[in-house]
Amino acid sequence: MTARSKIEARKLDFFYGSKHVLKGLDLACPEKSVTAIIGPSGCGKSTFIRTLNRMNDVVAGTRLAGRILLDGADIHDPEMDPVELRRRVGMVFQKPNPFPKSIFDNVAYGLRINGERRRGRLEEVVEKSLREAALWDEVKDRLRENAFALSGGQQQRLCIARALAVRPEVILFDEPCSAIDPIATARVEDLIQRLKTEYTVVIVTHNMQQAARVSDYTAFLMLGELVEFGDTKTIFTAPVRKMTEEYITGRFG
């Protein structure tokens, strides 16, 4: 692997109370590429990507050991402000979660909390982000409408636009298509493919075909341990470990 790693976990352990959920994970996500995290339900995929932007900080009773490096800098360093970190490492959740606000206000949210008030600038970024999320044409005449008026797939693309608006460096997707229909899924996958020219993307997915379609690299997790990591083609055609092969051919999970 020649690509520079953008964000990486080193000897990462994670606990919910006494429950050991991630066990000595070593995983580096290469810059400007799509890394897929696959594995059976409950193996710690969500937990893992939530450690990358410190979203687990807000969950009581959790403990983390090991290091996570963003551009080589430890994200748990006292110098690193978690709020600032989350501006650099954005996240799109499993279930679309727009705010109960207008479409425009949803996308503008990240800028506004950063103190941006200039109307022109906001409009510019909202349009650009909605275009990037392939939603602009569908909503350009109804930006004042409540986001809940959109379909599930549109809401998910709105959440992507909202994440893009703050210009993060890394975007984390936690099963972004599990709550939307196949056509919307195709659009989101298409979108993720295009994002990697500018962003580093990490996507958790339950769907093997999706991992094969959208990702450049794939990590296979089992019971909180990394079983295998490599470029997607290798993982799907010539995995080294027997367990990986059995999982991707659908013999369990």
Partner: protein
């Protein structure tokens, strides 16, 4: 066959029972309203409604000319209530936000019941505190002869409406889907920004309802204001004056008024005005709360 018939009968009687209970509540409410109305109407054989509502002077026992103007009492009620809300709303929302957002589970488990116990303190005890504690303190602080005035009443009513405001606001803040907060944090929002820009707006209708209900409690409260506000009849020009609210006036005079006189009927008319005012406040709260629950589902 027999079994099913029996079960049907049981279903039916249970349903009828609950229906009757609901009906009872409505009947009692309607009954109170009717009683007030019937007892109030005779007052207007001698008093013009306009005079009643818009005259400042209330002097039903004057040897010269009896006057029945309740504007001063309405103003007093409004003034004391508004004062109470100005004090209680920021504190109440602040505490609710703290409980739902910041406090550890252990703290919440102590504070929430404590707040609910506060709601159960008899109003006469609160009024007592107004006389022996707040009154002297206000007198000293502002260099007054005594501290039985509007501000004293407002402070006490604020304390009394806080449990309602805190409890219902906290409920509606806790009902905000956690996904909203997560979305805001993931975009680089601080906890404060997340609270102010996402959670409070999402809980707004519940909070408005909480404030309205707290206000309804304050407007109708009698014993506390009776004890703490000094009960002067003069038209109030500020919270630093002694003033007499509608509730106090009824409580003071109803025990001594000769029955079936205009004065007697006029006191019921004040009660009717009060009833309508609290009814409106509660109705607005209910409508807002309903709208909120509908949107959530």
């Amino acid at each position: 066959m027999n079994k099913r018939a029996l079960r049907n009968l049981k279903e039916k009687s249970v349903r009828t029972f609950f229906f009757l209970n609901g009906l009872l509540a409505v009947v009692v409410l309607a009954g109170i309203f009717l009683l007030l109305l019937v007892s109030a109407v005779p007052a207007f054989r001698e008093i013009h409604l306009r005079e009643f509502l818009f005259t400042k002077t209330w002097d039903p026992t004057s040897p010269l000319k009896e006057t029945y103007g309740i504007l001063g009492q309405i103003a007093s009620s409004v003034l004391v209530t508004l004062g109470a809300m100005i004090l209680a709303v920021p504190v109440g929302i602040g505490v609710a936000a703290y409980l739902s957002d910041v406090a550890h589970a252990r703290v919440r488990e102590i504070v929430k019941p404590a707040v609910e116990i506060l709601a159960g303190i008899p109003s006469v005890v609160i009024g007592f505190l107004g006389i022996v504690l707040i009154g002297p303190a206000l007198a000293k602080l502002f260099g007054l002869g005594h501290g039985l005035n509007g501000l004293n009443g407002s402070l006490l009513l604020a304390v009394m409406s806080l449990p309602t405001i805190i409890s219902i606001s906290e409920d509606s803040l806790s009902a905000v889907p956690p996904a909203y907060g997560e979305a805001s944090l993931a975009l680089g929002g601080s906890r404060w920004q997340t609270l102010v820009r996402v959670k409070l707006p999402a809980a707004l209708s519940g909070i408005i309802a909480a404030v309205m209900l707290g206000m309804g409690r304050a407007v109708g409260e009698t014993m506390t204001v009776l004890m703490a506000t000094g009960n002067a009849r003069a038209f109030p020009t500020g919270l630093m004056q002694s003033l007499r609210t509608m509730t106090s006036n009824i409580a003071i005079e109803l025990g001594e008024v000769p029955y079936f006189t205009t004065h007697y009927y006029a006191l019921f008319a004040i009660g009717l005005v009060l009833f309508i005012m609290t009814f409106l406040v509660n109705m607005v709260a209910d409508i807002v709360l309903h709208k909120y629950q509908q949107r959530e589902s």
